[in-house]
């Protein structure tokens, strides 16, 4: 275990930033936290989590895929991919670290998505244990440990110090170059924190939410549930849940004519949107109920069916906080899966 006094944490950030861009949660003027680039004097937010998930680092809201130059009948395809520099994302919570696994299985499976892979290869994740989870947190039901976050380096913050443990080659290389600010220490303080986090996890209101009814092979059981009607009844059909979600990965590919060539870009898309499946000759999901159902069935049944039982939700609670009508995956799981966990 390595340790850095909190008094010294800005020096630690400066050391990290010497060789890689450093991003960490920063308090926004509107009271929320966002991942922003660190520079001298930028304070590290105490917020439990960022309003927007860190999936942006690897799967940005919008990114250019290629350009085209056209002249008469001729087309030239211009590869706009550039080599990334290493960058460090610091203070990623256990749920969000897990979300990268969920995204990896989509983007890194054959054929590998080179845009994502490039950024993933150069991103170094320093996670952070949660000492004060919110009532909306339910990572535990998906086997995620708030006290034991994964990542290239795991971190724990106590009242006076930051503790670090490298987990991967990338992480080991990172801490190796920070040796001037880090000192070796025992695991005692971290173990004590893990114990206290475990006690809190046991008090969280959603800790007993059951995943039993969900997972691969449950399509026929759940798809026809009468509960979907009432659950989706007030859904506005907006994309808030999708876009604050760390694991939602649907995207659109579109062309933008700049007047001086064409940019083909991809951007986040939402299965909640009415035109998501709209084709020239029809739409296979005509009502909001069908679109609503698709989003939750995908996370709770279809994704796990294709990914060894791994759920497409990490329990970060963002959709619970942000849905304009307070409809969310927890309410869906309780209604569709039977009310276990009340």
């Amino acid at each position: 275990m390595l340790k850095c006094s909190l008094d010294n944490v800005q020096t630690l950030f400066a050391e990290i930033a010497k060789e890689a861009k450093l991003y960490l949660p920063i308090d926004n003027a509107d009271g929320t936290a966002v991942f922003g680039e660190w520079s001298r004097g930028v304070a590290w937010s105490n917020a439990l989590n960022t309003a927007k998930s860190p999936k942006d680092f690897f799967f940005p809201q919008t990114e250019d895929l290629m350009r085209f130059r056209t002249e008469g009948k001729k087309i030239e395809v211009i590869d706009v991919r550039r080599e990334s520099d290493d960058f460090v994302v610091f203070g990623v919570r256990a749920c969000d670290v897990k979300s990268f696994d969920v995204l990896d299985r989509v983007f890194l499976s054959e054929p590998c998505d080179s845009f994502y892979a490039e950024k993933r290869a150069h991103g170094i994740i320093v996670s952070l244990a949660c000492t004060r989870p919110a009532e909306t947190c339910f990572c535990g039901i998906f086997g995620i440990h708030a006290a034991e976050p994964a990542g290239d380096v795991s971190a724990w913050k106590t009242e006076d110090a930051l503790y670090l443990r490298a987990n991967t080659e990338k992480g080991t290389a990172l801490v190796a170059r920070l040796s001037s600010v880090l000192e070796e220490c025992s695991d005692d303080a971290v173990n004590a924190q893990k114990e206290s986090i475990a006690k809190i996890m046991n008090k969280l209101p959603l800790k007993d939410l059951s995943t039993e009814a969900f997972g691969g092979g449950k399509t026929q059981d759940l798809f026809h549930s009468p509960a979907w009607d009432a659950l989706s009844s007030a859904c506005l059909g907006c994309g808030t849940c999708t876009f604050v979600c760390p694991t939602c990965q649907c995207y659109d590919i579109k062309d933008f004519n700049t007047g001086n060539g064409v940019i083909r870009y991809r951007c986040w898309d939402s299965c909640m949107y009415s035109e998501f499946t709209k084709m020239a000759h029809g739409n296979n999901r005509l009502t909001q109920k069908e679109r609503f159902r698709q989003r939750f069935m995908h996370k709770l049944v279809y994704y796990p069916e294709n990914n060894d039982g791994l759920f497409g939700c990490v329990g970060c609670g963002r959709c619970l906080a942000k849905c304009p009508i307070s409809m969310n995956i927890v309410k869906v799981m309780k209604q569709i899966g039977g009310n276990k966990g009340e």
Partner: protein, 332 residues
Amino acid sequence: MQKITREQLIDQASELLANGTVSTVLGWGAGEFGYDVTPTLFKTAEEMQNGFVFNDFCGANFSKYLVSKTKTLEGKLLVFLKPCDTYSFNQLLTEHRFDREKVYVVGIPCEGMADIAKVKEISGEGISSIASDGDRIVVTTLYADAPVKIDARNVLAERCIHCKSKKHVAYDTLLGEEGDVVASARFDEVTRLESMTPDERFAFWQNELSKCIRCNACRDACPACTCETCVFDNPKSGVENKSPSNSFEEQMFHIIRAFHVAGRCTDCGECARVCPQNIPLHLLNRKFIKDINTFYGEYQAGAEVGSRSPLTDYTTEDLEPSEIFVGRNEHA
């Protein structure tokens, strides 16, 4: 903080369900934590006893739901409307968006609704219970030793801080006492933006609008946005709800939307309430309202059914565009 109670609302609705006046009730459904209420349809008094809530977090404006819900419903729909909601209700009727005969409005007084984010700024995360006690909101959390008591007036939602009316402009039955149109300082922030230099103002909006994630929640919650298919949802429009990086395109969405609802926006504040990125979208609409008031005389959309917005109603007294331009310059 609310003067009217859940039980009074249930009693009123139960009576109307029992005597057949209405078939269904659109109300607030209980959530997991007391503050996360969901608009819900109730068919019976028993369903309401089990799942209906009314508390300081019932901010959602139900008016827009009437457009979709009355289309398929058998019988009348009872809807609870707060004073501000009734303005949206009238505006939708003015635009013939639903059949008035299919709706039964129970007007309910409102003392202002709370913003849970503001509550949490004071109480901290980890809420295990939340309840109102007179003018206070009492919050117990996993981390505080004692319940945190918060003055409800300190955690009001933005639109409630700047409440423009306690008066219901439409109802079939009114519960509690009728209020009045109230003076508000809602244009103060607009005035502050107007006093900026164009560069400062551009920087302000660029910063705010760059936070937009194009979730469309503002549009989808907006009672003035009731087009069957929005131009931004039409792949052939070229302005579909997406945009490439390093472009200013997404900001067009909000500006076009503000123009589209100008003169029809009642300033209900749903756009800003639902924005997951906390963009103060209501300020765009308030700028239009303020300008309309300045150039054409005071006008409140939705104050009455059938009124014509100054922007769609030509009179010979209207200012000439050149005069408006001068007017704007005087502002700056």
